[in-house]
C-alpha cells in the first residue's frame, strides 16, 4: 500500500533545520510571542497561519533576526539553526541573514536593473570572483525563481518595471542568489493577483527540493496548497503544529478548528 503513499507528505522523517525552544518575544511591555516550541524541518514548506496580530510574522522575523532593527524588541528562549543558537552574542546577524534569506509581503526589488537586483547579494558576499561567475549565478538564480524565460532578454531593464508577480519572483530569485539554507516568506502573495499567486506557489513548491521554506500567510487556502506542515498561531501562542492535511481535515485544537472553518471562537 505504501507504494501509493504520496511522498511529499512524508515529513516526519526529515532532519530538523530550525528549532525554537521556549521562545518569548517582547515589544516593550507587549508580550508578543509566548513559549513557542517548534521544530522546522529541512526541505519542507512550513506555513504559519493565524489571525492578524497573532505573532506569526513576529516569530518569522525572529528566525533571521530581522527584529533586531526594531526598537525595543527583545527575544528570550533559544532558536537554533542546525543546532547553533542564532541569538548567541558571537553571531553576526548579517552572516545569519545570508543563510536565512527573506522574501517580503510587498515585492520590493531595488530600483536597479534586473541583473543588479540578483547580483547584489552575491556581490556583497563575495560569491563571485569575476563577471562570468556572476553571470552564471544570476542566470541560475533567475531560473530557480522561475522568471528567467521572461526576463532573459532584458536583464538591463529596471526591476521595478516588471509586473507584481514577476517582481515577487525576482525578489525570490534575489533571495536564493546568496545560496541560503532557509527561505522565510512573509505573506509573499498578498499583493498579487491569483495567477501570479499560483505561479509563486508553484515556485515555492519547487524550492522545497533545495531549501527549508517558512511562509507566513493570511490565506488558509494558500497554507493548505503550498505547505507540508502548518503551524497555527493564536494570541502569541503556537496552538497547533502538524502535517498540513491533518490541520485542514482534522484539527485537534478547537481554536484551530474555529479558525480554519471560519467560526467565531
Amino acid at each position: 500500500m505504501n507504494d501509493m503513499r504520496i511522498v511529499e507528505r512524508d515529513v516526519e522523517t526529515r532532519e530538523i533545520k530550525i528549532r525554537g525552544d521556549k521562545v518569548q518575544v517582547f515589544y516593550g511591555d507587549n508580550h508578543a510571542i509566548k513559549d513557542v516550541d517548534i521544530e522546522i524541518q529541512d526541505k519542507t514548506v512550513t506555513a504559519f497561519i493565524g489571525p492578524s496580530g497573532c505573532g506569526k510574522s513576529t516569530f518569522l522575523r525572529c528566525l533571521n533576526r530581522m527584529n533586531d532593527t526594531i526598537e525595543g524588541c527583545r527575544v528570550e528562549g533559544e532558536i537554533t539553526l542546525d543546532e547553533e543558537d542564532i541569538y548567541n552574542k558571537q553571531v553576526d546577524p548579517v552572516q545569519l541573514r545570508a543563510k536565512v534569506g527573506m522574501v517580503f509581503q510587498k515585492p520590493n526589488p531595488f530600483p536597479k536593473s534586473i541583473y543588479d537586483n540578483v547580483a547584489y547579494g552575491p556581490r556583497i558576499h563575495g560569491l563571485a570572483s569575476n563577471k562570468a561567475d556572476l553571470d552564471v549565478i544570476v542566470e541560475k538564480s533567475l531560473r530557480r525563481g522561475a522568471i528567467w524565460d521572461e526576463v532573459k532578454d532584458r536583464l538591463d531593464a529596471p526591476g521595478t518595471g516588471l509586473s507584481g508577480g514577476q517582481q515577487q519572483r525576482l525578489c525570490i530569485a534575489r533571495a536564493v542568489a546568496t545560496e541560503p539554507e532557509v527561505l522565510l516568506m512573509d505573506e509573499p502573495c498578498s499583493a498579487l493577483d491569483p495567477i501570479a499567486t499560483a505561479q509563486v506557489e508553484e515556485l515555492i513548491d519547487e524550492l522545497r527540493t533545495n531549501y527549508s521554506v517558512v511562509i507566513v500567510t493570511h490565506s488558509m487556502q494558500q497554507a493548505a496548497r503550498v505547505s507540508q506542515k502548518t503551524a497555527f498561531f493564536h494570541l502569541g501562542n503556537l496552538v497547533e503544529y502538524n502535517e498540513t492535511g491533518e490541520i485542514f481535515t482534522n484539527p485537534k485544537d478547537p481554536r484551530t478548528e474555529s479558525y480554519i472553518t471560519g467560526r467565531i471562537g
Binding site: M4, E8, I195, Q199, A224, R225, V226, G245, F248, T249
Partner: protein
C-alpha cells in the same frame, strides 16, 4: 486530462487520487472474474483469495475517500476539478459495493463447491460476470478518456445483463420446481446472479458519473430497465 494547473502539486494530487481509483477498479475487475472462475472451476482456494482481497478493496476505498477529502480541504477544487473529486468519491463507493458483491459470490462459491453442480448454470453465470466485468472496464476507460459516448454505451449495455439475469431466474425456477433437492444450490446460484445484476447497476452508476464528469449534468432520461423478475410469476406449463 485537460491543461495542467499552474500549481503542479495540484495536478499531482489529482492524479494520485485518480490513480488510486483506477487501481481499485483493477482490483474489482479481477475480483469479478476470479469469483466467476472459481465458481465454474469449483476452485475453493481462488474463492478464498477473492474474499481476502476484498479487504484490500475496502482499504483502498477508505484511502481514496481520505485523499479526496484532503484534496477538497487543501486545494478547494472548482468546476471540472470539483466534479472530478466528487465523481471519484462516488465511483469509489460504487466499486466498493461491486467488490462486496464479488466477495459474496466467493462466499457462496465456497458452499456450492460441496454440492452437486447444476448443469450449465456456472458457465452462464461466468458469461454474465464477464459481461459485467467488460462493462466495468469500459466504464473505467470512459472515465480515463473522459469519453461520454462510451459511458453512454456502457449504460445501455446494462439491459443485456438484466436480460441474462431474467433468463437465469427462469432457469433456476424451473430447476427448483423439477427437483426440490436443487433448491439450496439454486438459491445460492440465484443470489450470485442477483449480485452480478446488482454489480451491473453499480457499473451503470459509474458510467453515469462519467457522463456527469464530462458534461456537468447527470443523464436525466430514465435508465432502460431490463430486470423483469419483479413481475414474474410461476412459469406456465
Amino acid at each position: 486530462m485537460s491543461k495542467p494547473h499552474i500549481t503542479s502539486a495540484y495536478d499531482r494530487d489529482l492524479e494520485a487520487v485518480q490513480a488510486h481509483l483506477m487501481k481499485m477498479g483493477g482490483l474489482v475487475e479481477a475480483a469479478i472474474i476470479d469469483a466467476a472462475n472459481s465458481l465454474e472451476t469449483r476452485d475453493e482456494d481462488l474463492a478464498e483469495q477473492v474474499r481476502r482481497n476484498d479487504r484490500q478493496i475496502d482499504e483502498m476505498e477508505t484511502r481514496v475517500n481520505e485523499e479526496a477529502a484532503r484534496l477538497i480541504a487543501l486545494r478547494a477544487p472548482t468546476a471540472v476539478d470539483l466534479r472530478t473529486v466528487l465523481t471519484v468519491m462516488k465511483i469509489s463507493n460504487n466499486l466498493e459495493r461491486v467488490g462486496d458483491y464479488a466477495k459474496n459470490m466467493a462466499k457462496r462459491t465456497s458452499v456450492l463447491v460441496h454440492m452437486t453442480p447444476i448443469e450449465g448454470s456456472a458457465s452462464d453465470i461466468r458469461r454474465m460476470a464477464k459481461s459485467v466485468e467488460l462493462m466495468l472496464k469500459d466504464a473505467l476507460d470512459a472515465y480515463i478518456q473522459r469519453d461520454g459516448a462510451l459511458a453512454e454505451d456502457v449504460r445501455l449495455r446494462d439491459r443485456e445483463v438484466d436480460q441474462m439475469y431474467n433468463a437465469l431466474f427462469r432457469q433456476f425456477l424451473t430447476y427448483m420446481m423439477e427437483d426440490p433437492r436443487h433448491i439450496t444450490g439454486c438459491m445460492h446460484l440465484h443470489f450470485i446472479a442477483k449480485n452480478i445484476e446488482r454489480m451491473g447497476d453499480h457499473v451503470t452508476s459509474i458510467a453515469e458519473q462519467v457522463i456527469y464528469l464530462v458534461t456537468g449534468e447527470m443523464p436525466d432520461d430514465a435508465r432502460p430497465k431490463g430486470d423483469k423478475t419483479p413481475y414474474m410469476a410461476e412459469p406456465r406449463g
